[in-house]
Structure formats: C-alpha cells, structure tokens
Symmetry: C2
Subunit: 517 residues, 2 copies
Amino acid sequence: MSTASAGSGGVEVDFAEDNYGDTLFPREIKSALTHLRDIGEQHVDRSVKVRAWIQNARMQGKKMAFVELREEGSWSIQGLVVAGAGTGVSREMVKWVGSLNPESFVSVEATVKRPLGLVKSCRVTNYELHLSKVFCEAPAPDVLGLSLAAANKAATGLDEEEEVVDGMANLTVKELVVPGASLATHISDPVMHKRAPVTQAISDIRMAVRKLFTEYVDTRDFNMFEPPCLIGAASEGGAEVFTLPYFGKTAYLAQSAQFYKQLEIAGGRKRVYSIGPAFRAENSNTRRHLTEFIVMDLETEIESHYHEVMYLLEDLLLYIFRQLEVRCKDQIELVRSVYPSPPFLVPQPGKEVRISFADGQKLLREKGPAEFRNVSDDEDMSTPQEKALGAIIRDKYQTDFYIIDKFPESARPFYAMLDPENPAVTNAFDFFMRGQEVLSGGQRIHHPVVLEDRIRAKGIDPSSLGIKEYLDIFKSAGVPPHGGGGIGLDRVVAWYLALPTVHLAAYYPRTPKRLLP
Amino acid sequence: MSTASAGSGGVEVDFAEDNYGDTLFPREIKSALTHLRDIGEQHVDRSVKVRAWIQNARMQGKKMAFVELREEGSWSIQGLVVAGAGTGVSREMVKWVGSLNPESFVSVEATVKRPLGLVKSCRVTNYELHLSKVFCEAPAPDVLGLSLAAANKAATGLDEEEEVVDGMANLTVKELVVPGASLATHISDPVMHKRAPVTQAISDIRMAVRKLFTEYVDTRDFNMFEPPCLIGAASEGGAEVFTLPYFGKTAYLAQSAQFYKQLEIAGGRKRVYSIGPAFRAENSNTRRHLTEFIVMDLETEIESHYHEVMYLLEDLLLYIFRQLEVRCKDQIELVRSVYPSPPFLVPQPGKEVRISFADGQKLLREKGPAEFRNVSDDEDMSTPQEKALGAIIRDKYQTDFYIIDKFPESARPFYAMLDPENPAVTNAFDFFMRGQEVLSGGQRIHHPVVLEDRIRAKGIDPSSLGIKEYLDIFKSAGVPPHGGGGIGLDRVVAWYLALPTVHLAAYYPRTPKRLLP
C-alpha cells in the first residue's frame, strides 16, 4: 500500500514511478501546503502542495489528463498532467491520473499557472495547476451512492416516514425547482450528503446560532452549567420519556433542563445557561419532530417583573437573527438557492410584536379561517391555529417573529407562576417563528407553599418521585424569584431558513424510525 | 402572600408595616440595584437596593437587629435595622428582621454607611447597610439540612459507595484538615452544596476549561458539530453500553463521539470538535468513574504525520493549564484552601515529556516498585502501573503532565493505525495528569481495505451491526488521513485540582448508585 504502484503493465521502467500512485501514509512533498481559496498572483510559476478531492478526472488524448480538485466545500481548481521527459510525467502517470475516481483524496505537487482562458467549470477561474506529483491517499469507489451534484440539490421524499404533509414553512415539495435524491438517500449516504455545500452551509448557520447565543449570554454575566441526561425521575410526565434499565433500577432521559436550571438558581447563581441534548419519546413522524434535539436554555433571577426575562430572550433572538444576516450571508444565499424561501422578517426596533394569548385568540376569531371562529381563551392553541395566527400577524405587522404572552393556566405545567392580577392566566409565554413555536418560557414558582398548592391543584401527588425532589429544592432554602426559557436550536435553524423539514437542520436526525447513522 | 404581614400580634397599627414582610412578587424599591462587590465611596450616605441571602440575623436588645447579607457566592456585608419614629423602622420590624432564618432571600432598601470599626465577619469590611425596607421573597426552613459553613468544608465519606480507596491524587481522606459533611449529605442537599464558595469555584474552573478549549480550537479553524447520544448500533463493544427500548427496536447511548467525528472528516470538514456527554454502563464504584461524563473531542486531517495531532493536543492542554493559573487564580486558591494539594506541574516550553510506551515500561521495570519488575511491552498498563509511572516521571522531569505514545497493538481498538515501522505498536497515545489518563487519541485507519483487514484481525465480523456502517464511511468515498483525541473534562478538572474524587468535579455526578438529583 505504501509504495507507488505503476499504472502500466509494461516491463520497461516507468521513469515517473516515484511521482504518483496509491499510498496509505502521506508521501513527502516539500512545497508549502496551500489552500485553493488562497491561491493568487504570488503563487504564479511557483510550486505548491495541495490536498484535495478529485471532483472529476478525464484523459485528453494519450498524453494529457485533466482533473478538477476540490477542497473546503466548494473551492475547486483545474489541474492537468502532461506527459514528457522534461516534466517528470510519463504516459503511465497520465493514464493513472485520468482514471482516478471522483471523491478520491489526493495530495499533489503542482506549479500554479495562468490558464489560456477562464476556467468556467471551477470556482478558481484564473489559475490552474500543472501537476508534477499525484498521490492518492484514499480511493473512492467506481460508482458513488450519491454524487456531489445530487447531494447539493434539494432533497425529495421528505415524507418517507409516513407523515402527513403539513404545508409548513410557506413551502411545499411541489415548489422545489430541481428534483434531487430522496432524504432517505441523503441520510443513508452521510459522507456525500455532508460534502454538499448546502449541507455545510446549513451546519455553518446552525453553529453560528449556537455561537451567537453563547456570545450574548457570556457578555451578560450568565454562567454556563451542565444538566445531566440520565435522571432518576421523570418529573415532567411519564408518557413521552425514554426509560432504560440502570443497574437494577430505572433511569430516564431528560426531556428538558428545567429542574436543573432552577436548581442552579437555587444554588446561588444569578443567571445560568446550558446548551445540550433533550429527549422526547413521542411517536410523531412529522417534519417538526425529533426524538433527540438540542436546547439552548437559560434561567435568570427576576429583579422585579418576569417581563425582564421575556425582553431579554426577545433581544437575544433578535441579536441572533440580525447577526446571522451579516455573518452567514453567503451560506443563507446558498441554502436559498437550493431550498427557496422568502426572507425571514424581523420587526424594526421599537416595533416588536408581543400579544397576549387572549388577543391572539381574538385575532384568530376575527381574521382566521372559518374553523377558528370559536376558539377559546382557556385552551391551548393547536398547530394549525398557531400557523393561521402566524399568517395573520405577518400580514398585520410584517414580522415572522413574535411573542404570545399570558398563556392560560390550563395550557401550562404546575410550576408556571400565575398572574397575580388574573389567576386564569400564567406569567408564561411562547416565541414563534413563521407561525411555529421555538421557545417556551416564563416565571416559575419559587415559593414552596405556593408551589405545593399548585402541584395539588394539578392533581399531582407532591410526594411522588421527581415531584418531591423538585419541591425539596424550594423547601431546603430560600430561592429568589426567577424565570427563563428554552430555545429549540433545530427549529430555529429550520424555520429561519424555511427548510421543508427540521430533519435537514440536524447533524444526525433522530426520529422514531431513524437511529443511523 | 403578596402583602406585608406584621410580626407583632398587637392591636395597635404598626407604622412600619409597608416597609417589611413576606411577599411572593418583588415589592417596589426605587433605589438602584447594587451588587455588594461594587459598593464603594460613591455610595456612602446614599440609598441602594440589594437582593441577597440572609447569612445570619440576630437581635441586639429590642430596638436593633443585625443581619449579614450575602450574594454571588461569598460577597457579604453587615446590615442593621434600628427602631425609631424618624427611621421608618418599628420595634415589630426589628423583631421580624432579627428572626429571619439564614438562607432566606430578601430584597432591601438601605443607606450605605461607614461602620464604627471594620466589620471583620463580612467580606465587605468598610461599609455597612442601614436598612429601611426588608422584604422576604423566599423563606428558608428553621433548620438547614446543610449549613453554608459545613457545605464549604471538605466533603468526607467519599467512599460511601463501597469503593476501594485507591490513594489517588496524592491525597487521602486522612490528610484532610477539617472534617465536614459526607459527600452523600452534600449531594442530597444540592442547594446548599452549590451555594458553597468552594463548589462555585470548582464550577468556575470547569467552565473555564471548556471555554479555553473552545477558544483554542475556534482560532484554529475547527468546526463545531453535534454527535448524537441515541445511536442504533454499539460499535465500540456491547458490555459497557446502556441500552433502551426505542419504538420496538433497541437504542444505545453513545460511549464516544468517535464514529461521528470521523464521519464529519469524511464529510469534508478539515477539523472538527464537539463537547458533549458520553455514557458508560460500567458498574465501577470508584472515585474515578462516572456513568455520564463530558468529553471534549476533536478530530483533524493529517497533512503528513500523526504527531501533528499529538502536538496540537499537547499545546491545547498546556494552553488550558497555563491560562487557568491566570484566569482562575482566586478559585484555585479557594479550592486548595478546602482541598489542599500540591500545584500542578507543567513542563517548561521545549521540555515537554513524550515517552514511548516501551520506554515507559522500561522506566517502570527499572525504577518502579518490585511488583512491576517484569511488565511487558505488549500489554496495556494497569491503573497502579500508570500511577507508579506518573510518580517516576514527576521525580525525573518535574511534570504532572506527559504523553505516552505508541501503545501496543493489543491495547488499542481495531481502528488504530499501526506504526508502519513496527506493526506491533500503534500510532496512538494517551495523555496523563498526575499519573492518570485524561486523553486517548491517535491516528485512525482511513483506508477501507486496511480497515477491513484490521477488523478481521481483531476477530470482529465486518458485516456486524455498527461495524458495517463504520466501514461504509470509508468505502463510500475517499477519506483523508486523520486523527484526534477525546479529553475527559471531569477528570481534567479533578486531577488538575487533585480533588479526592471526580464526583466533586461534576455538576450532577452519575454513578451506578446515584441518579438524583
């Protein structure tokens, strides 16, 4: 493996045999490693080392071969090898280079030249590489499962998992311009799927959202902490929780960091955040659901009113949206070229949209479709209601981002603080993007007596496993008023870009039917 | 709840009744919120608002009460209330303030004054607060489960979980200066445990390590990514993996991000990292083990030799150690005052210690205890051998941090690249701190034919679940040479500080016997 294998079967010695071939360990090339994006005038007529994928290779007659080399997503350049005694390139070498499979990984030595005309097939158009050494460190198969071109088109077959199409994100499959491979094909050929520039652009945007979140909270005195995944009690209800055997007992996978965020506040941190996985064992095969997802969580002491928390979270998300447009401009454009979508509208400063749940229901009754003429102020909204309200609000306020505040008591868990002015509603809110929830938050009850009353009022036994431990937090020492929220990272990315499914926003989507790769 | 409740049972009107009492929602205090650490000359004779815990409250006669107020870990200040018609403070108010339980949370209005003498009992010694309003937003119980003073002493009973004491980290329980509460008591009173300055200092150091890791890789072109926790195949062996029912199938909890890091490299990213949980179902009740732990993982293309990866990881850890001494100086001192330990020795630049496994075994044979006179170069080291070698190296090179390179083939998994010069050993290494492993890494096999050979040589069926998917990565397209390593965050923190157990380094330690809180 580690020595060059001549391409020719002839008996005569190939004078170029040290200049090409397969190798397991990188062969020595003395020129400096150069990235395609950096190649410029200073490199002309100089020798460089490049490590890249073969995007294409073909013979031109018997003495010349062309290759396209690609690195870092979409940087590509034309390379050529020309046989001749003076160049150190033999006909055997040309033939071998011309027969390299696309997506093989090579290390080359080359002289940078100006091409005769612009090279339109490559991103680098005004330079080309005259190759003097070509070593293949990793071969690709003769036939790829998914070509790079197909991987960079919009995925089709998004409903492979038996979901009902729900017309989300202002976009349906029919509107997609170019048919590509099915989502199942993408996910089962993860290597080629990930090499597609559109996949890398979505990943870049996702990581930018995480980084912007962290930047924001880090400059506002939040302390990071780490909630556990394995927990001993399913405090948020048993139906949708994963359970596993744990050394003769039962463990659960955390559905949220709620308990632990509050414990950190109780433990004396004024403001905390975490970014990590949460799990939900819901057998929902829709484009909105994942069984494992990343939540960006925060919790903070309240100085005087829970709107402090709400405004902070709103400002945080607006910061993320506005910065994304700047920092990820190219990636957003690239994604839109594959998955077309209207820009994500954010409100002008001072024009933020915060509507009470009751006013939202009123809007629905007055301006929504006929079936929502009788929606009640005391019942939680359904997904279709949320989307209808999103359309009304976009129309009325030109924004895809808004807050619904003061959810009814019936729609919130026991730990939500009731509004002191109107105990039928809570000091709790949801944030929406394009008519879909991305954040749930509010003020929590910090007083043990009030909390125990609410637990009983919800018909829960305060001594049950998980509830007792939760209540004990507030009994063990005085805990300041506090509130917070959890932001679903997958959904923020998917709805910001109006991707046709949240599964395209995740690195390794987990659904009831998918655990691999 | 939301109105003041007068402390006195008398019938006469308490003229101060609006200035104190219990309240569920914060009462209005117009003075600006001020943190104790910020109080200075500019505040003298001015009114401030402070939100803090009662650390102590006591009556002095019938007209005066003293309190100690505490916030942000250990900032404390003396407060006093003096009854008098002119001050707005009644005797009833004084009595109520004097009877507040320690660890109740209060909001106060006060005038900053210079005390008659230095207040030695508080961290703020040269100012005191003359309280005019005191509202209790969260009461503490009459008797705390764990007092703050006890919570801030070294935990005892570290072996509650039936482990064998292994004399780790140069420190045994006997050497602890001050007896405190047992670790079990700490963990079962998480609120008070977390309020202890020593706990917060350890957390600060832990988060600083995470942040330093991120800083380092972010400035070196690494891309963050997110490996899943739920996986469909246990590629790294079945014995120590958690399994759970998953919609009629079986899911596993990831033991490492290895597969996914490599998949990201295969997918066209040159350098990737992740920070997230990993799980191991090992029934080990020792001070070194956790069933859930955080790993800081990275993987990078190799340009010419795997030592690029090794040196990068070495430089990264040295960066972390050196920056910790600067950024967390106070926290490290605080931890050492509770858990005494010798400073963590790092090598001078140019004096880094990298020893081959064979040379390490030779050192053990020559300088180690008698029972290690016959250790072999072909067998992995045991924990006692590692510790003995750590002591020899500290003696010889004055460092607590070093690398053992070239582990024998028998001690590494199938994916470790063999040394082309000597296939009895691998291009793989471990990093050690105080004689204990904190990082495992090396070059991975990137070539599908070589990889399949190694899988068979290890007696594994290449078509088995998990292995097939792993092999398919390298078959589906050419993957560049690459390597990486995973750093155990819990262990880095614990061994850097020479904590007597890794359980003290984790936010919510998970052991075979512990899933709560």
